[in-house]
């Protein structure tokens, strides 16, 4: 838990329309930890994650990952980094018309030639592995259903399996349970925990609910208006800190 896998230094992101989403953020991610990022909507959480795998281009700053500055690389190097940093999304972002298995297999695209992928020539090994990851998230019996026939929670598990087939070192999760009901919420979070503990994949997860943070996070950072305002263990978030992060008069909502 001591080795640093990702190191963000003075990261700034200003959108073309002038919005300053990130105003110089610095923090380290330790190998194997379950780091949760909290903050209000618009505090820059999503932008931060999208900069870390270069779905967005940072304006300035450094993101050191395995000795590479992710913020500076271009072209193919970006694709290689994305392969090593998996991501799941609030809206799952599956291909609705494709089967569950096909969706999971798209996690292999990063390592394939364009020609092979155009004809869908995934190897038997790829398929076996995809099924194995589907089993890990407990959804292998749905492998041949269309993705849009699944419930939200099931779709998010498929998305986790897709990210796992990339064999990533780090898994970014952008509000993975924000569009799920409370019961399903815990199922998905439990699988993320399993991925973190059994496969040793480092997880960086954006969350809304503080009760989930206390249950799953090994460490927490809090963003407010594009700046880090708290860094520490989940137990350290006192009522006083909570008010600071979420604003005066905010009340905690519990998810059971």
């Amino acid at each position: 838990m001591s080795e640093t896998i990702l190191s963000v230094k003075n990261l700034i992101k200003t959108y073309d329309n002038g919005t300053k989403a990130l105003k110089g953020i610095s923090f380290d991610v330790k190998r194997g930890e379950f780091l949760v990022v909290i903050g209000l909507s618009g505090s820059g959480k999503s932008t931060l994650l999208r900069c870390m795998n270069r779905l967005h281009d940072p304006t300035s700053g450094e993101i050191l990952f395995n000795g590479t500055d992710v913020a500076k690389i271009k072209g193919r190097a970006v694709l290689n980094i994305r392969k090593k940093i998996g991501m799941i999304f609030q809206q799952f972002n599956l291909i609705p018309r494709y089967s569950v298995l096909m969706n999971v297999l798209t996690g292999r695209l990063g390592g394939m030639s364009s020609f092979k992928s155009l004809f869908g020539l995934f190897t038997a090994e790829d398929k076996a592995q995809a099924l194995q990851y589907l089993k890990l998230v407990g959804i292998h019996e749905k492998a041949y259903l269309r993705a849009d026939q699944l419930s939200g929670g099931q779709q998010q598990r498929v998305a986790i399996a897709r990210a796992l087939t990339q064999r990533p070192d780090v898994l970014l999760a952008d509000e993975p349970v924000a569009s799920l009901d409370p019961a399903t919420c815990h199922v998905v979070m439990d699988y993320l925990k399993k991925v973190n503990q059994e496969l040793g994949i480092t997880v960086v997860c954006n969350l809304h609910f503080l009760s989930l943070v206390r249950q799953y996070a090994t460490r927490v950072i809090a963003l407010k208006a594009g700046e880090v305002v708290f860094e520490g263990s989940p137990e350290d978030i006192t009522d006083e800190w909570f008010q600071k992060i979420y604003g005066e008069g905010a009340k905690e909502v519990h998810v059971h």
């Binding site: 795998n53 779905l55 694709l79 290689n80 980094i81 994305r82 392969k83 090593k84 998996g86 991501m87 999304f89 809206q91 799952f92 972002n93 599956l94 291909i95 609705p96 018309r97 494709y98 798209t106 996690g107 292999r108 695209l109 990063g110 390592g111 394939m112 364009s114 992928s117 155009l118 998305a159 897709r162 990210a163 990339q166």
Partner: protein, 344 residues
């Protein structure tokens, strides 16, 4: 209207054109110009510009006093309109609209030489009855030839559609804004969009004339004409589909480290494939109808046969061809409607 001092151009232009029209009509009625005067484009254009300027200025003056012109009524944003306005016949804009519409109708009747006398002329009616008599008593002896020719027409339309698909498919991504995001890409996007609009605004009939000079009269020229038109139409429709895809799957596939081509193939294509097929079948349907017309200028197929018999006033034969066209168009229309419904 004192709260909003913004100068609105569109209502002024609209009223200007109104005045231009009314004053020109008045001039023609009063002056009764000769043919030579009517053909003096330079002088007439200057007169028109003057009338337009008068209308523009007048409209501005009236509007600035707070009275609504017809232009204001049409173009002003809703929040600027008076919620408890008077009935239309108590307003300036109401009378302006009435006068413009009535005078347009009168001018239109004169321009198209509308004549109840010609419509009810017994000689003319006799001719029309002869024609209808022929058409409604089709000469079925030419049916085999008509069937052969309509098959040619159907294949012209089919080939034009099929050959247009690969071009339109590739071009549709190059002319979709969400794919062409870079400045260079935007230039390509703008160029292609403009190009498609120009190509589409040239009727397939004109393309058929061009190609019949190029490759000779016949079905090949007709097919090429339909193909060019289809590429432009399909590419535009396809690219609008590409622009309406949801971003989620694109981000999802991008996050796996897939390259741009893989993102298009796995995230965009699955979202658009069914509407693509639907548009394409509809295009084939349209092409069959257009192929009939194109035959009239030497594009081959049933249209060529039709123009031959029509030229010789052989109405029973024309009747047979019309029946064949109607049946085939109806069948294809039904078939394509059912297939498109099933694909939804």
């Amino acid at each position: 209207m004192s709260t909003n001092k913004t100068f609105h151009t569109k209502p002024r232009i609209f009223d200007g054109v109104n005045a231009l029209f009314l004053l020109l009509v008045a001039t023609v009625v009063i002056v009764k110009p000769t043919d030579a005067q009517l053909l003096d484009l330079k002088f007439n254009a200057m007169l028109a510009a003057l009338y337009f300027a008068i209308g523009f200025g007048l409209s501005w003056l009236i509007s600035s006093k707070g009275t609504f012109t017809w232009g204001d009524q049409i173009f002003k944003p809703l929040h600027l309109k008076n919620p408890n306005a008077a009935s239309w016949y108590k307003t300036l804009w109401g009378w302006q609209a009435l006068i413009v519409l009535i005078s347009t109708l009168v001018v239109g009747l004169i321009m198209t030489k509308f004549s109840i006398y010609e419509l009810t002329n017994p000689d003319g009616i006799d001719g029309a009855l002869r024609l209808f008599g022929g058409i409604f008593n089709p000469d079925w002896s030419i049916l085999p030839r008509a069937v052969n020719n309509i098959i040619e027409t159907i294949f012209m339309a089919f080939m034009a559609t099929v050959l247009a698909i690969p071009f339109a498919f590739v071009l549709s991504f190059l002319s979709a804004r969400n794919v062409m995001k870079s400045p260079m890409g935007y230039a390509v996007y703008m160029f292609l969009r403009t190009f498609f609009n120009v190509v589409r605004s040239i009727e397939a009939l004109i393309w058929a004339i061009i190609f019949s000079v190029w490759v000779g009269i016949g079905p090949f020229a007709g097919m090429l004409a339909l193909m060019v038109h289809s590429i432009a139409s399909l590419a535009k429709q396809y690219s609008e589909m590409v622009e309406s895809v949801s971003d989620g799957p694109i981000e999802g596939i991008q996050s796996t480290g897939a390259n741009q081509l893989q993102v298009v193939w796995f995230a965009i294509v699955p979202q658009i494939i069914l509407p693509y097929i639907s548009f394409t079948i509809y295009r084939w349907d349209i092409n069959v109808r257009m192929a009939t017309i194109i035959g009239l200028v030497g594009g081959g197929g049933i249209g060529t046969l039709l123009i031959q018999y029509q030229g010789q006033a052989m109405w029973p034969q024309v009747g047979c061809i019309v029946v064949v066209i109607a049946v085939v168009v109806w069948i294809l229309d039904q078939a394509s409607a059912h297939i498109r419904e099933a694909l939804k």
